[in-house]
Symmetry: C2
Subunit: 447 residues, 2 copies
């Protein structure tokens, strides 16, 4: 009977499965073999005796739920966390973020930043992230080492595709990036990320989408983050951003549009018809005063919407629990309707909904037999989580990243009892602190 032995058994606790039937199993268990969930059910005494596992995690007093899916990040920007806040957008970008990026972004900074960001994410319950930045190769490598599931979007913008030879060089490098990561590590999925319609010419947008389509990968793009993007694109191309992208044939079911704060009803119809996915980043858009995406309307239209934190320069953390709380609250107050974005809907967005956005809902986003074992345990035996009437309410409105006790990705325990097992947090902090010292020094020299 040795072949029936489980690799990992989560025993006890309340299972928030996030399955199609939204089943909640009190005193449940999850059996894991290799990278997958092979058994899920009630933890009955009689059966328990026959269950054997190499490792057992006692989840008594915990909620057991799917790991959270962060659908939009720029991980290395943890290096700029709190560097420049409360500024007008243009001043923030042109005087602070872009100069810092020009001067300090390199392979090593991206790797070090990603490692610290992953420590933060694993500690706060995120098991999958979708990133877009430069030197994405380093992020993929960091994710491989940390054991996180990741969509890594190699960044494109006109400033790196200045002339035909630069275009060919960039596309060739991107193609090599794809080849490397399509087969190298099962948890890493490469993608392409065009920064935005206002920083990418039609030629860039089309060229990258064609390459993405050929490879069958996701195409990420910032869209309608700010109110004035509409005017900029209108002035430049004679049509609004969504019709512009539609004309360029870059909108399809493998396109993830990020932000969409100023998406009009007719745009939503296009998204619904074409299966375009949306990443909603409310905290970043609040802090930058960009706007509030019409998410309740998007969901009514049947558009798949996930939640993202965005980068740490505009949030300033990667805590998906905080982001869920804000997602629920911001739409209630802007619509003056407390019934929109109920806790269950928001929990879906952060798990199975995020998985849908990334085209991974067949693999992750719920605790079900056959799915990959991306699971987190929440320690509910705490004053701020007492009493417990409704699990979804508690997860969205009261639980914080700091309440995550254990994080499992692809069947592997990555954090146990708040101890990181694949990343040395002290080294990760030290490395980023070194970069920060250089950034501060540079700032002091300039001022």
């Amino acid at each position: 009977m040795r072949e029936n032995k489980l690799d990992l058994l989560i025993s006890g606790g309340t299972l928030i499965t996030m399955s199609a039937g939204m089943e909640i199993i009190e005193n449940g268990y999850v059996g894991i073999r290799n990278d997958s969930i092979v058994e899920v059910g009630p933890n009955q005494e009689a059966d328990r005796k026959h269950r054997q596992a190499k490792e057992t995690i006692d989840a008594t007093g915990c909620l057991v739920m799917p790991g959270l899916v962060n659908t939009h990040t720029h991980l290395p920007m943890v290096c700029f966390r709190g560097l420049a806040d409360d500024l007008p957008l243009i001043e923030w970008l042109t005087n602070h973020i872009w100069p810092a990026e020009t001067r300090f972004v390199n392979k090593q900074m991206v790797y070090d930043g990603a490692m610290l960001a992953m420590a933060e994410m694993i500690i706060s319950g995120t098991t999958t992230f979708c990133d877009g930045y430069f030197f994405e190769d380093s992020i993929a490598e960091a994710a491989r080492v940390a054991g996180m599931r990741a969509v890594v979007g190699q960044g494109f913008a006109d400033f790196i595709m200045k002339d035909p030879s630069a275009v060919e060089k960039t596309m060739a490098a991107a193609s090599r990036f794809l080849e490397r990561w399509l087969s190298r590590a099962p948890l890493i999925t490469p993608a392409y990320f065009c920064h935005s319609p206002y920083t990418c010419s039609p030629a860039t947008l089309v060229r990258v989408k064609e390459a993405a389509r050929e490879a069958g990968i996701l195409y990420l793009i910032h869209l309608l983050e700010n109110r004035d993007e509409k005017d900029i694109i209108m002035k430049r191309y004679g049509r609004k951003p969504v019709p512009h992208l539609m004309d360029l044939s870059v909108l399809d079911e493998k396109t993830v549009a990020v932000h969409c704060n100023w998406l009009a009803p007719e745009d939503m119809q296009v998204f619904a018809d074409r299966g375009v996915k949306v990443s909603h980043n409310p905290e970043s858009s609040m802090k930058l005063a960009s706007g509030v995406a019409p998410v309740p309307a998007m969901l009514r239209q049947g558009i798949a919407v996930g939640i993202g934190t965005d980068g740490c320069a505009s949030n300033n953390d990667l805590d998906m629990f905080r982001e869920m709380d804000t997602t629920a609250k911001i739409h209630k107050v802007t619509s003056l309707d407390p019934t929109v974005m109920d806790a269950e809907t928001v929990c879906k967005m952060a798990t199975i909904g995020g998985a849908q956005v990334l085209g991974m809902d067949h693999l992750i986003g719920s605790i079900e037999k056959g799915k990959k074992a991306d699971i987190i345990l929440l320690d509910m035996n705490q004053p701020h989580l007492t009493p417990l009437y409704n699990c979804y309410s508690q997860i969205v409105y009261a639980t914080r990243g700091a309440d995550v006790k254990t994080t499992i990705i692809n069947g592997k325990v990555i954090m146990k009892d708040r101890r990181l097992l694949t990343i040395d947090a002290d080294i990760a902090m030290k490395n980023v602190n070194k970069i920060a010292v250089d950034i501060i020094h540079q700032k002091l020299c300039q001022s």
Copy 2:
């Protein structure tokens, strides 16, 4: 030299003093004798040898800041945390909250709820709170036991003052409550709390204000939480809420108006002229879809505004760090201006600003010689708090209640290294869980 010995010494760490000059002292120290701060300064090696203390706390790697001031709570409502969310306001109140209050609110429930709420607050860095509820005597007693600084507002509403004899009985009981707590415990300050202009008749509002004025205590009142309050009061009394209260002479520098989501510019002028204080509760007002208070305009008018969490049925936590983060972000996005409500302003609101609202800024709200020692230590050596460029940004946008390492109130260490020293959290949770079982049972019987 024994009389020069400090009772408590906080040594090392970065002091965020929140003094008038907003001084930040890197590697500082705070000397405490009895309940007060007697020394503050840089922690120089030469002086350090001569400094003697009965107890020393090493704050290396920490931010040391004044304890947070939560200007509006209903502590016992922790018992209803997550009981009924995402509902229309009237359904929420009439079908869930009010029936639960009618059935379950009693002295013991108030005491048990307050104790759990205080555990949550101390753990997350709040050292002073201002509460309004019924059986406030029990809250005062719980605060005395827990060692928290508190303004305890005995609640008034017409439903408990139905006829002249009930009025006299209620006022006499309130007077005894005052007498008891004005002298009994140095950390407890009694106050009166009229629920709102729509639940209190002009006679009630005036009678309670006169008694409060005579005793020299604060007068708390919910005001303009919802949009329709204006119409209700207009229809009933022929004038809008603020002119209505002005006519009744209840608006002065000892009145704290809570919420004020629909305060008009002319109302703000009244508040500024009369010194009326405001408690801003953004998360509760977002979750209930009540509205967003025009706080940037209030601050421009010179009105003292503090931050509050409101009760746990409408938030659903008492974490002032989360509330600070939301306070900064919500006003940026609603005004589409990222420069409003900068992190420093928000830190002030949660400390010295809150103290001003409660008329306690001569005692608390900053780390300065002569003030009471209400101090918290934040453990900054964590992935989500790395790197550290700007202390205010980090406190508002990245720090969470869970990062509070040590809490000191009135010179006494109340939590050390996340261990509560005056409250048994397990017992507090057990007691509230017992109440919750009864509430669930009652709900099941009704449905």
